[in-house]
């Protein structure tokens, strides 16, 4: 009879206690798996959202890295059409989007409000990003954008404008002079972050170039890769191709640009780590108490086993096996519980409150994340082994004669 078989018999013998201990592991494991799935889902959503916003890669002038422009488009990419064609020739590139970042003042005559603007190529932008989905009134830019502008809902409210209204944009050109152009509001967007909603403007690169008098210069090229493309290798090829084309650029990965993503990820990992540590401590303490009780109750049995020739290591293994069997049984039950709770949560439509700075909550969504389940099993087995180790060691060290005389 193996240590595990004997362990199982002993657990069945102590039904109530074993059930309680397995229940602790079950809930601990389920919490671990569900939290892991929720966090994985959040990371994935955040990652997708970030990439939809900033692209997989961005091509920018080398001087733009870590420096703020003193003049409009000071570090822009000139001859953007050629640059775009060069980047678009890469086999892994799905789309190359020009963007012009600019700031200015928007006015209706009665009121003026500062804005943060972005010049885009509306067709590819609509296809590759989430912006069109954020339109809450009117429509997104079409064609080359024409004179159309999309405003954040907060900015529109501040200016008291609606789709179809005319606005005037004022901005500083690269040579430092002030220029103004009229635009027509085509739609209002809720970009989900309140501060940005209050300042957001999008317009076609043609209109923005005329406003800034910047010719064919853009701030950056946003690159979207084909599904399954290797980001690093694509970045390397693009850097070489652009350098060969005479562009002094760098290719930046989305992670470098998405500091928010990394911060949120670190925050989640911290929370998950803390919750995990609390769970582990609870399981260790519960298991240590249960295993100590088992050793105390079975002291005479331990003495008998030692007397008839079980080595001290055999006694240790027996109690460690009990801990591991509890962990495995708890993980099996925990997996079932986690799957049931996950299905219930995902079907419930419960909305999570919006994160700080955001305007919308999101429905709770727990992903089936096998890594969390695997890590949970490993964590529970290790935890139970650690919790069982000291009672098991005590059992192995009991003097045989004292153990046999135990009442």
């Amino acid at each position: 009879m193996s240590s595990f078989a004997l362990a199982w018999r002993n657990l069945v013998r102590q039904k109530r206690r074993s059930f309680l201990m397995i229940a602790v592991v079950t809930f601990g494991f389920a919490a671990f798996a569900l939290a892991g799935g929720f966090i994985a889902q959040s990371f994935e959503g955040l990652r997708e959202g970030t990439i939809k916003s900033v692209g997989d890669l961005q091509i920018v002038d080398r001087r733009a890295v870590g420096k703020a422009e003193e003049a409009t488009l000071e570090y822009g990419l000139p001859d953007a059409r050629r640059a775009r064609a060069l980047a678009g020739a890469d086999p892994d590139v799905a789309a190359v989007l020009p963007r012009i970042d600019f700031v200015g003042l928007m006015t209706t005559g009665a009121k003026s409000v500062p804005f943060l603007g972005v010049g885009v190529d509306p067709g590819p932008e609509a296809a590759a990003t989430l912006v069109p989905e954020l339109i809450v009134s009117g429509k997104y830019l079409s064609g080359d954008g024409g004179d159309g502008v999309v405003l954040g809902t907060g900015l529109a409210a501040a200016l008291n404008v609606k789709p179809g209204d005319r606005v005037t944009m004022m901005a500083t050109t690269p040579d430092g002079s002030l220029n103004a152009l009229d635009g027509i509001v085509t739609g209002l967007a809720d970009v989900r972050i309140k501060e940005l909603n209050d300042r957001y403007v999008a317009a076609g690169v043609g209109l923005v170039s005329r406003l800034l008098q910047s010719g064919d210069t853009v701030s950056k090229l946003v690159v979207f890769l084909k599904p399954g493309a290797n980001e690093d290798r694509a970045a390397e090829r693009l850097a070489k191709a652009m350098a060969a084309g005479g562009y002094p650029i760098v290719v930046r990965h989305w992670r470098e640009l998405a500091t928010f993503y990394e911060q949120v990820k670190l925050l989640y990992i911290g929370i998950f780590g803390f919750v995990g540590a609390v769970l582990v401590v609870i399981v260790i303490l519960s298991a240590a108490i249960v295993m100590t009780m088992a050793v105390t109750e079975r002291t005479r049995e331990i003495g008998t086993l030692r007397a008839i020739g079980t080595r001290p290591s055999g006694i240790r293994t027996m109690f460690l096996a009990e801990g591991v069997v509890i962990a495995l049984a708890g993980c099996v039950a925990g997996t079932v519980l986690a799957l049931v709770v996950r299905a219930a949560l995902n079907a419930s439509g419960i909305m999570l409150p919006p994160p700080p700075g955001a305007t919308h909550g999101m429905p709770i969504n727990v992903k089936l994340y096998p890594l969390a389940y695997g890590a949970g099993i490993l964590a529970m087995v290790l935890t139970m082994a650690i919790a069982s180790y000291f009672p098991a060691r005590r059992a192995a060290r009991l003097p045989i004669v004292e153990a046999l005389a135990h009442v």
Partner: protein, 233 residues
Amino acid sequence: MTAATGGPLVEARGLSRSYRLGESVVPAVRDVSLSIAPGEFVALRGPSGSGKTTLLNLLGLLDRPDEGTVRVEGRDGEALTEEERSDLRRDRFGFVFQTFNLIPVLSAEENVAYPMALAGASAARRQERARELLAAVGLSVKLAVRPDLLSGGQRQRVAIARALANAPSIVFADEPTANLDSHTAEEILDLMRRLNAERGVAFLFATHDALVVSRARRVVTLHDGAIASDAAS
């Protein structure tokens, strides 16, 4: 008395063992020298507190003496590690306890097979041997029964079968009849006598039961932890 043939099976020289009881030290065994030969059937008798169980534990390598040595088939028990002593008990000794001490989660057959599993015997060999031993103690029909469903006498028979599992040289029995009625005690003693005669395994009993003493071929009497007499009966 020494072994009838060859050297002694178990040989104690100058054994002493004391226990601390609060502030005082109580000597349980004092300077005892004793030899058990192969195939002997020996009773260790004496009143309560005379040191019978302590001496049995020392001879069975369940405890270590404060002074003196125990040699088992020529090997110095005190020079062995705990693991080696465990292996020696498993392979050469059998134990029968007053309270039977069967493993409650194992059936009668599994209890008997357990020491063989420790020794690495195959499953087929364990099953064959366990069934043979349980048949020898008259429990062929109780193979799958757990200890809590057996009578006291049946439990002690299973314990005896377990003690014989690895074909030991000697069985140490501490008050094996104390928890049995007189009729069952007689049956158990008959069984042990028969096994002693048929299999040549030595038995050493710690007892104050006159019935056990009357069946022994040699009686060692302890008084205050020392041997008062050692005689064939």
